[in-house]
């Protein structure tokens, strides 16, 4: 987390170009493509490595899985369900990473929230409605995160140590909450109760195929309009904006992805009988992704977060309330972790003491970094967590399908190697950019 060297603005224009987003310099589609290529050459590879990794995973596992079952609709839907927890947890960790910090407590802090929610909706004891139960769980997570953030910013303690302590404390609190029930064993979500079933169906509920198509169309039209209107407004008012053809390509891509996803989900995936439709978890993950993308990239708060992550001292001198923004960042991180672990409880149909909270932190950091978020702060998007989560779940899912490699050792080794590759790409691209500015002087 070394302080980053500020770009030298007096350097040669072609070198400076690589530091800028392509849309700032490009006026036409051709120029945009050239600017993007220059950016990749300059080490700003963005989501390119993770997309390449995803393509590689799909090709390899489709080729070697029995009957090429990896690419079957049933398995792809299952893969997304398995990836959802990684994705949301990586988006949580993203807040800490973009700020140039780290949060080791996400797994167990999120588990506290999930345990509270699962306990509160139990029909034999507290009998809460699911809405206040979820709010209570997420609120507990947020408070935990704000306390950690306050300690880190006000007492100037390293986030590594504060959240390591938080990890242990949260683990203990989590186990205590689990034991509160009067029933034998741990709380689960299977049973004759609407409130239990809502939580269970966060992950396992399925939207009717027809409704899935309509919903996807509405989302694509809404997002498309949003992109088109904001881009054309920028163009009209003479601000820097991508060319109209690029806006159309973006909208087309989103529509294509939506059609493919819905088509896959609407294919019957049961052995006998019918099981088809988009699982609820997909709109839930997209909702988190959309909300945090807007927050980080379209609001003042988001710009402050990136400014602090890039250079905290510069941000402070520019008048940003660094301590406040950071504290809120940790609060949002823990809140999102609560969402992730609620999905985990839903995935497992209950909560046991056997939660790999430490392992999940590693996966969250790995997913964010694999997706393209920098470990050195200031760079990263919620989308990176989603893509990285897909890669990790893809590796696991693919290995589980192979009788020869399904043991945990291989999963650990391969995930570790992919993480290492991602960190190397991150560090090398950083160094490339830094050494570039050194040679220019």
């Amino acid at each position: 987390m070394a302080p980053e060297e500020a770009p030298d603005l007096t350097a040669a224009p072609e070198a400076a170009r690589a530091e800028l987003p392509p849309e700032v310099v490009a006026q036409s589609l051709g120029e945009y493509v050239r600017a993007y290529a220059a950016r990749i050459k300059g080490g700003e590879s963005g989501v390119l490595p993770v997309v390449a990794a995803m393509v590689a995973i799909v090709l390899v596992f489709t080729a070697i899985s029995p009957n090429h079952v990896f690419l079957s609709p049933g398995n792809l839907v299952n893969l997304f369900q398995q990836a959802a927890v990684f994705m949301v947890l990586a988006m949580a960790e993203g807040f800490a990473l973009v700020l140039g910090e780290i949060d080791l407590s996400v797994g167990f802090v999120g588990a506290i929230g999930a345990a509270i929610t699962v306990q509160l909706v139990q029909p034999t004891t507290t009998k809460w409605h699911w809405i206040p139960a979820i709010i209570a769980g997420l609120l507990a997570c947020t408070v935990f995160g704000l306390i950690q953030g306050t300690l880190i910013t006000r007492l100037r303690l390293p986030s590594f140590i504060v959240t390591l302590a938080g990890y242990l404390i949260a683990n203990g609190i989590f186990l205590d909450i689990l034991l509160l029930g009067p029933f034998s064993g741990y709380p689960n979500l299977l049973g004759q109760s609407d409130n239990l079933s809502v939580i269970y169906h966060l992950m396992w509920g399925i939207i009717d195929p027809t409704v899935s198509w309509i919903g996807a169309a509405v989302v694509v039209i809404a997002v498309g309009l949003l992109i088109w209107l904001s881009d054309s407004r920028r163009r009209k008012s003479g601000l820097v904006a991508p060319p109209a053809s690029l806006s159309l390509i973006k909208i087309g891509l989103i529509a294509a992805v939506a059609i493919v996803v819905v088509a896959i989900c609407n294919t019957n995936r049961a052995n006998l009988g019918t099981l088809a439709g988009v699982p609820w978890v997909i709109p839930i993950v997209l909702g988190v992704l959309g909300a945090w993308t807007i927050l980080l990239q379209r609001t003042k708060f988001g710009r402050y977060v990136y400014a602090i992550g890039g250079n905290a001292e510069a941000a402070r001198r520019a008048g940003v309330n660094v301590a406040l923004i950071r504290t809120i960042g940790f609060g949002l991180c823990s809140f999102t972790a609560g969402v992730a672990m609620l999905l985990y409880a839903s995935l497992l149909g209950g909560m046991s003491n056997n939660v790999g909270g430490g392992q999940y932190v590693l996966y969250a950091v790995a997913a964010a970094v694999i997706g393209g978020t920098s470990l050195f702060g200031g760079r990263g998007k919620p989308l990176h967590g989603v893509l990285g989560g897909l890669v990790i779940a893809g590796i696991y899912n693919g290995l589980y399908l192979l009788p020869q490699l399904s043991s945990v050792e291989w999963q650990y080794i391969i995930t570790g190697l992919v993480l290492l590759a991602a960190v190397v790409i991150d560090a090398v691209s950083r160094r490339g950019a830094a050494s570039g500015s050194v040679t220019r002087t």
């Binding site: 079952v69 299977l190 985990y344 149909g349 209950g350 046991s352 945990v408």
Partner: protein, 342 residues
């Protein structure tokens, strides 16, 4: 099973004369015996269906087991054999398998509160106490109203409760229970200390010892060494290596062996039948059921084997559970030779 597979071949038209391959998932916790279970299970499936494959996964956390199960479901498994890692989360796996119409066999440990569970394969834990008590009575011979010490495990363990009940049903009115105690946490040092107290109160006259498992039997033997004469028969459970060695040396009379091989093979047979939609032959389960809190689940409950000096070779050694080299380590070489293990 061979006859069954022939029936399948006929049912499928038998054009090629080859049983169509199916995939059967075996999902276990990651423990020391997992690999043994896998080997026995795979061998049994391969025997009846050369084209079938076993998708084996071992999990350390219940999230891992959950992911392995859903991947097996989406990966086209026709049946799942599941040893649950955790009660709170295993039932959901059965629910998801049911949504895709895939049968689930609960292996060794029962999946609780899962109405859609297809089968349960395990040992008859309720019979253990009675079985052990009966063979202890035989070992004590014709002695009238002998004095027996009964050592039980952790009192809150449901297995301890059923052990006590079924042992008492056999021993009642036939023996004098000189002492009977539980061992909190199953700690051997505690068991040994209590045994010392019991021996003193019985004036070191004991005709038989019934222990809940081999660890407790070992603790009792430690307390008796050099103090009790004549040496009484001691019964334990688990076929642990140290217990087998004590049996060879004559310190322990018997142990109960729950054959991993027999259990894995029974599970393989049930899973094979379910995968191919064949009715599980009634002879396997004898119509027994076990209630898992949500309903009565058809069950195959195997009976453990009593292992004494005379059948070590034909049971634990034959199954490869322990090798003669492991049993006959340095100080047991001559004792092994005496009972004929090589």
């Amino acid at each position: 099973m061979l006859a069954l597979s022939a029936v399948v071949m006929l049912a499928c038209g038998g054009d090629t004369g080859v049983t169509p391959g199916k995939r059967i998932a075996l999902l276990l916790p990651d423990t020391t015996v997992s690999n043994k279970v896998k080997a026995y299970f795979e061998a049994n499936i391969q025997q009846v269906c050369a084209n079938c494959s076993v998708l084996y996964s071992a999990a350390k956390t219940d999230a891992e087991q959950q992911a392995q199960a859903t991947t097996a479901i989406s990966g086209g498994a026709s049946a799942i054999v599941l040893e649950p890692l955790h009660d709170a989360t295993a039932a959901a796996i059965v629910t998801q398998a049911k949504a895709a119409n895939i049968p689930v066999v609960s292996y060794d440990r029962l999946v609780l509160n899962a109405p859609d569970l297809s089968y349960y394969v395990s040992f008859d834990h309720a019979a253990v106490g009675g079985l052990l008590a009966t063979s202890l009575l035989t070992a004590m011979g014709t002695k009238t109203n002998p004095t027996v010490v009964e050592i039980n495990g952790e009192p809150s363990d449901p297995n301890t409760k059923s052990f006590k009940e079924s042992a008492l049903a056999v021993l009642k009115d036939k023996v004098k229970l000189g002492a009977q105690y539980d061992t909190p946490g199953g700690v051997p040092a505690t068991a040994r200390a209590r045994m010392a107290v019991a021996l003193a109160s019985l004036n070191y006259k004991v005709d038989g010892v019934l222990a809940g498992n081999d660890v407790l039997a070992g603790a009792a033997i430690g307390a008796m060494r050099g103090r009790v004469r004549p040496w009484p028969p001691v019964a334990g459970q688990g076929a642990e290596l140290t217990a087998i060695q004590r049996i060879v040396a004559g310190e322990q009379a018997m142990t109960l062996y729950s054959s991993t091989k027999a259990e894995a093979e029974a599970a393989a047979q049930v899973a094979y039948d379910l995968a191919f939609g064949i009715t599980v032959p009634p002879s396997m389960g004898n119509g027994k059921t076990v209630n898992n809190g949500a309903g009565d689940i058809p069950a195959v409950l195997l009976t453990p084997v009593v292992v004494t000096k005379v059948n070590i070779e034909s049971t634990v050694v034959a199954d490869g559970f322990w090798t003669p080299d492991q049993i006959c380590s340095s100080q047991f070489v001559s004792a092994c030779a005496a009972v004929g293990i090589s």
